[in-house]
Amino acid sequence: MSYLHISCALIILCSIAAGMIRILSGPTAADRMMAAQLFGTCGVAILLLLAKGMDTIVLLDIALVFALLAALATITFVRRAWHEQSGVPRR
């Protein structure tokens, strides 16, 4: 177990926590979604650091799935939620 990697992961977790302010304050739905995108990138970084720090190589695969899901979430949001909510017809 490597404390260096785990403390680096903790620092990145702090930056996610700060990003939550943006989720709470908005103002538009897209700003909230961007914070979710931040979670995606930071989450991947945390998982990679933990994979090394805790010697759990499986976490790399989870990071891979995480990266895909973050992209999927944003795309779904843009295509469905944001457009329908404002009454603008989707293309």
């Binding site: 680096c8 990003g19 897209a30 995606g40 930071c42 991947v44 970084a45 990679l48 891979l64 603008v88």
Partner: protein
């Protein structure tokens, strides 16, 4: 061997400020577009440095290849979703903040 490990640690530690400033930008910048700048660029560089550091510390080449694959995937995903968010903001007539 030890030096490669230390170099990796240096890269990982250098990546951290990028994540922190990405979040600072997300909180401080005035509108959607500028926040997107902060989010996409800073985080990708931060992740790139962390992946470089972890690659230097990796045990075998498979792990390095997987790490690079993850980075490429995140790059594609974040630039595509950045463009999508910006484009739908434009279509919704959200005007960029001007000085």
């Amino acid at each position: 061997m030890i030096t490669l490990d230390n170099l990796g640690i240096l890269c990982i530690v250098m990546g951290l400020p990028f994540f922190l400033t990405g979040t600072v930008g997300l909180l401080r910048f005035p509108d959607i577009y500028t926040r997107l700048h902060a989010l996409t660029k800073a985080d990708n560089v931060g992740l790139g440095l962390i992946i470089l550091g972890l690659s230097l510390q990796a045990d075998n080449l498979f792990t390095v290849a997987k790490l690079i694959l993850i980075w490429i995937l995140v790059l594609i995903a974040s630039s595509a979703s950045c463009h999508l968010v910006a484009r739908s903001a434009m279509q919704k007539n959200i005007h960029p903040w001007v000085k």
